[in-house]
Amino acid sequence: MTPEAEATKPLTELEIEQLFYQVKKKIWMYVLQKVPAQEAEDVFQEICLHSFTKLDKLLDRSKFLPWIFSIARRRVLDYYRAKYSQPQLVGEDQFEFNSIEDASFSHEQRLNIRELRDCINQLKEPYREVALLHFVVGLTSPEIMKVLNINENTIKSHIVRSRPMIHKCLLRKKK
């Protein structure tokens, strides 16, 4: 079977499970960053439900990651469309990672994590989305390229430029 035919043959349940296993943590991290804590699980389940019901439309399994992220981004937008007139930043009601007691992280580290997240949220587009996908969700440049359908060099440039912006934001917060 040719690679093209292999990529387009119908997915078995096991394959769906394996594909989903690889991305579900990334999707979860993305939702946690985008949606208030109490709504995150609902949005996550919405994404899962939608992606499972639309699997027929995924013609090439190598595009599963961008495909499911496009669903996730649309679901998040739908969430905000339903809640407000237009998408807003998560702000104060974002998921409180610090609420989980974990002895391996000091108070300063948690504070730092929170500030980093705040600063990423305060970036302007297109830097914010790229920084979120790279630093928070943990996607690589080639993966972000597939998700956002932007040239890889542009993504690398956005990542490099977003770092000083985040650093300046941190300095402002510490003053």
């Binding site: 989903f20 580290q109 994590i113 770092r163 985040i166 300095l171």
Partner: protein, 212 residues
């Protein structure tokens, strides 16, 4: 001769290069103030690179995804059935469709009352309050259900219950001149005879009065 680099120039440089490259190319030429700024910047970059790992460690576990059976579209599940199972599936669906009570039917289509299933007659328990049916078709179906259950009661010797069900079947008849009316009245007459032997009164005689 290369000049030393201040904060302003460093800011322009770090917006275009990775920290390691900046260090390699300009590390030795940074002014003390710029060097301190660059060190702090490198610490931020390190934190950013570790951010995903730290967030993953602190985040709640990924929620359990709902069972796939509920998520996979029905047609996909049906198509994935082996071909030999299709007649069985069709038969099972047909049986379910025939045996399950209709959604808008207020009474079960099979006799459900205790007295109908036991050999010894038991007192008739009045049925729960039912909402009036809306269409003649629904009324006819309800009437049929009462009639069938009445016959089941009668065969078990529970005349009171049979009488109540035949009465209900009669009252639900949409058109009292139908053949069904005659069948019900015939059954009621038999029950009335038996109840009369037990000294009970019925109103069937009014219906079967000489004017008919």
């Amino acid at each position: 001769m290369s000049h030393s680099i201040g904060i302003d120039e460093l800011e322009r440089i770090i917006a275009e290069m990775e920290p390691a490259e900046v260090e390699a190319r300009y590390g030795g030429r940074l002014e003390p103030e710029a060097k301190a700024y660059f060190d702090a910047y490198c610490a931020t970059c390190k934190d950013l690179d570790n951010l995903n790992g730290m967030l993953e460690a602190l985040a709640p576990p990924v929620p359990q995804v709902r069972p796939k059976a509920r998520l996979i579209p029905f047609h996909r599940r049906v198509v994935s059935l082996p071909i030999w199972s299709l007649p069985l599936t069709a038969a099972a669906l047909l049986c379910l469709g025939l045996l399950l009570p209709q959604k808008d039917s207020p009474v079960p289509l099979e006799p459900q009352v205790q007295g109908a299933q036991e050999d010894s007659p038991v007192p008739y328990e009045p049925l729960v309050q039912r909402a009036p049916a809306e269409t003649p078709k629904q009324n006819a179906r309800i009437s049929d259900a009462f009639f069938e259950r009445g016959k089941a009661f009668m065969s078990k010797g529970n005349h009171d219950a049979a009488w109540e069900d035949f009465s209900a079947a009669f009252s639900y008849l949409p058109d009292r001149s139908s053949i069904q009316r005659k069948s019900i009245l015939e059954e009621m007459q038999i029950v009335a005879e038996q109840m009369k032997d037990q000294g009970k009164q019925t109103w069937v005689k009014d219906l079967l009065s000489p004017k008919e």
